[in-house]
Symmetry: D2
Subunit: 382 residues, 4 copies
């Protein structure tokens, strides 16, 4: 163990993503024992002392802070992991980069391209290792899709479609804002399902199928007013409850995307499908250990969609876990991203998606919102 190098982490935030990231660091010793870097849970930061203290104890952080600026000042911190609401990403990331710390950031990068650009600039200028948690890339079935596409197996691509369907905001009695519901507050979140859900679909799409050139979108806010938990008043809802867009990819394929929190019966149904000349692939988050594949090269009389259970040691990341037939879960995607980040430090390579890379998704999200607002096609600039 003596040959391990410590990577001293500070976590900003104590919400859901702070939990998934912390679990990621905490699993490294047991499941990626060969890595040279060893995460040390140095500090966690959140405004409410009782809460941050309890979080530190539960997740094994050595100390806590209630002001993130204190984290930046501390010399015993190598890397800052940002799991705050979106409106705080920029300030923290820029300060951390300027202080020479590595920066890991939950997606989306920021509330807008304008807000995100200085973050990317600061990171680039500082030259610090960085990554953005578009965690679904690291679900083994999704990583395998990337490998299959890169092998050329699909041939020319005709269609890419993805959606992310939820149903948790259908009740008009649900408030907006506050710690628990900042995702419904446009000031904190920047947008609704576009930044929260579609951003995942867009990141995945461009990773797998290349740049999106232009978009035509529509958004809808079904519930127009909700009580704001901060003010206690009924206020206009500023976010998009649903967003649909179609687009052209640079490679000539057509894209189709949809996200909503009003699809009764779907909890977190992120689905993607890609249709190529020779083969097609399909995946969804509710059955995350399965990959579906149609291979036109199969004997015509017995051609069909294969349900591939991704649990074998020769499938991505699965040599780390159990035995064929036994599943892993949602949280493992974060463990994989942490492991890949540590590996990238060893190898001196970037850990995709970097801030720069995540900026592409930010630009598509913004083009989508602009298209919906202007009822016109918008170029993404990519």
């Amino acid at each position: 163990m003596s040959d391990k190098k410590e990577l001293r982490i500070a976590m900003i935030g104590t919400g859901l993503m702070a939990r998934t990231h912390s679990n990621g660091y905490n699993r490294i010793r047991d499941f990626f024992p060969e890595l040279k870097y060893k995460p040390v849970m140095k500090a966690v930061c959140s405004r409410t002392e009782a809460k941050v203290k309890a979080f530190a104890e539960q997740w094994g952080y050595e100390s806590y802070e209630t002001d993130w600026r204190e984290i930046i000042k501390r010399e015993d911190i190598d890397a800052v992991d940002i799991c705050t609401p979106n409106d705080m990403h920029a300030d923290i990331a820029i300060a951390a980069a300027e202080a020479g710390k590595m920066v890991l950031c939950e997606k989306p990068l920021a509330r807008s391209v304008a807000e995100a650009q200085p973050m990317v600039d600061a990171i680039e200028k500082a030259g610090v290792p960085n990554t953005v948690f578009y965690n679904y890339r690291r679900i083994p079935a999704v990583t395998l899709i990337k490998n299959i596409i890169d092998s050329g197996k699909l041939g020319k691509i005709f269609h890419y479609r993805a959606n992310f369907l939820q149903d948790w905001t259908i009740s008009p009695d649900l408030p907006q804002g506050g710690e628990a519901l900042w995702r419904l507050d446009v000031d904190a979140a920047g947008s609704g399902v576009t930044g929260d859900l579609l951003a995942h679909c867009i990141d995945g799409a461009m990773w797998l199928n290349g740049p999106i050139k232009d978009v035509s979108a529509v958004t809808e806010t079904f519930i127009k007013e909700r009580v704001h938990q901060g003010t206690g008043e009924k206020q206009k809802v500023g976010i998009d409850d649903a967003c649909i867009f179609h687009c052209h990819f640079e490679n000539g394929s057509l894209g189709l995307f949809e996200a909503t929190r009003y699809a009764r019966g779907h909890k977190a149904l992120y689905t993607l499908e890609i249709n190529g000349e020779h083969a097609s692939l399909r995946w969804d988050l509710h059955n995350m250990n399965y990959l579906e594949m149609f291979d036109h090269a199969d004997d015509g009389i017995v051609r069909g969609w294969k349900q591939i259970l991704i649990t074998d040691g020769d499938q991505p990341y699965m040599d780390r876990w159990w035995i064929p037939g036994t599943s892993i879960g949602y949280e493992h995607s974060f463990v994989h991203q942490v492991a890949d980040f540590l590996k990238s430090l060893e190898e001196g390579k970037p850990c995709e998606p970097t801030f720069k890379n995540a900026m592409m998704t930010q630009k598509v999200c913004e083009a989508v919102i602009n298209s919906a607002n202007s009822k016109s096609w918008q170029d993404t600039g990519l």
Copy 2:
């Protein structure tokens, strides 16, 4: 049997749809014995004598013609069923209506709104019974969806989505045009997947969820040139290979539609889903005997999507067929439409979708094509 009234049918065409419609008429005696009208297969018409003669023998037509105008002149014909390529629908339908014959027509009505309008006018003026074969309405699971929606079970509707995915034109070596492939020839078909496939999705959507107000579409022609079977020359492909659009329904819900013949692995995957406040419904043609339903009123701890096998006598049309657990097929939807048409004659009511009703779908299809061509939102005029 003596109390049965004969309905003397003439079929125009001998292609796939002529077969499905003919089978519809031929099954009535065995499966709808209580109907007052009894189809009599009087004549079939097609240009090639050898072919039409063989068709007449196989399907039990008493006579045949090689010029459809002869059919119109014959006094022993009560009803004309049009199963020709789209470019002949208008002439035949108008002539038949003017001759006072009932008109049954395969979808879509025509190649354009301009072409369809005189058809509707002629039918209305003649006052003859008429129907258009948007046959998927009569698949029992789809009819049940209509019944459930009409019962109010779903509450406010948020989303409607449908697609129709095929993969049979991916090869660039496939020619266009001629008897077998007129669907790929824009002159004969009017459009590509929009009129052939999306028209079904649009008809179903407006039947189930009301009028579509405006649309924003994109189309693509992946293979730009194909040999034309008529000329033997490589010619520009004029049809749309793929079409995607989103839209607003009059009831405030968002719609999302896609059709393509380039989705490798999907043969005829017509899928529809509707998300309401209280429940959601889902269906697809590859599993046509199943309806999927999510009912939020179920006990929360055991809520889920139900796979409902539609084979019981109390489910639409299923008292006609076999026993619980035993499936019916694609062809039965046409049998049901013929039976419903005969029933409508008994009752003196229209058999939906009528020409007038099918005109609504024609208008949406045209708005879709116009939107794609102009890269702008288009009102449907509905």
Copy 3:
């Protein structure tokens, strides 16, 4: 049409199977136009005149009888199709064979081996064409399984399992006996689920995987008494409500079978699976147009169960029906068997399963019942 040879059919029975068989004959002209033999619906027979008359009219029989012995006497009948309750199969089949008529019989052959043996003897002695309607062999996916197994693709077979699960007799208020419920009356049916449901599974198993050598079974009668519709009295239930057995096949594989009418939620779930050294196959009646296949020869990283939609022209029987992606139903299996019977007449070959072949299934059924009654392993004698 003048070159067609008439095959004059008499149907005995007017129940569910009389309907499925009659539909079989009635579809031949439209879907198998090349066959030399043309079924002529000469007569139908059943004890109740009103009922048999209506049946004749609905299904197109030229005449009717109320005593099956009259059918045997008639010289204008070439073939007798037996769709009565099981207890009448033997008398009719033997008389028909002795009168030199072809015999088609609904399964199972009879109530017991002792009752079936003279039937087989009479048929063999008369040398008349014959077949038994184990119709599920002619579902395209099942026929394809046979073809794949015969190709050697699976290698050595380790396991065969099949079940047939229903739930329609769970209510203790359901009576037994009478026209509608003779399947619950041991005197009419011979046995319960063993002869009614497992017989199908056993026929399929031996067709696909060879003879069953010995069996070990258990049966259960969950509801001990039911009102008999004949007597109006509560009477002991003599049939088996459920039956499970395991067995050895001659090829060394293990078999596992189950049938019940008490599996809540399953309407007619006939499922079969066969596991070989190199590949496995799976099918069920609720999704009858799908075949599932696992092929170990596939690239290991993307190996999985394929869902093969059996609707293409190069798949068994499917050149007769519609287009890729469009399903057929339960009734089509009977159409296929009738077509195969007519073809066998043309070719002068037996139409499997013949009476002799069906006797094998009868023997296994009897060994199963004996095993359950004696609580011991029983040889089948095959």
Copy 4:
């Protein structure tokens, strides 16, 4: 943290189960922070020093031993967790109990009833807390099945069926014995699939559906000889490769069980289904986050099997993990069992299944093997 009570654990073994159990202990702090007992990873034991040392480092054990007797002697150990091959369970468990240590043991208890009885006696005599890792009880969907059955929702039970299908030993080139393959060596394992796989099915069945009274079984060893890794010689294979049995439960329902390692295409397909008068439930390990339920009380026209995704906070154990729609994996079942064990210490209650309880499964397994060997029904003595 000061109020936590340490539970000092020693792990015996470094194989797959040592990993799953170790992970169980290591997750408690982060996911069950309210528990009074805090596992402390005191020592791990295995014969090979290099291996046990690496294991200790990876999983955070403070020390290691190479002789399990040293563990028993150590006073700084409160609980011994036995993850060795089956042939060592008895010696270690008895010694640990006699030394007054808590005993946690991987299933099955032992190689035979005769070997297991003294273990149960020793545990009972010592009165030490104990549990056996039939981990599948703690998969949320399975726990929910238990809750639903206990609520009376299913009514009278007619059928219980379970199987456990694998395919990893099909190759005749696979050796038996040694550290990696002791499960194939009858001396180390006691039996083949019966103790390894069916034991899980039997434990689940009796937990959910009560005692099994008698059994009728068949077993098969498809590959008769394999090279033994210890001797390097080809030796007779003593284990059962496949086992099938049917049985009567005390409550009058019929049971059907099968396990095999020769079902090509199935990796670890543990499936269970229970059919009651009013409802049925179904689950399988490959889709472990789903429960399937058919509820006859649903409106008849929309009755069907529900796919219930078990990821909500009100479903068993799921308040510990993430958000609706996000899955957990195989390893979580062990975390839950560890948490339940710690909770049971707090509450002074047994943690089911205890050794005594696991003895019931041992008895059924033995009756199964005896039945197969004697070709006769065997009482289980329960």
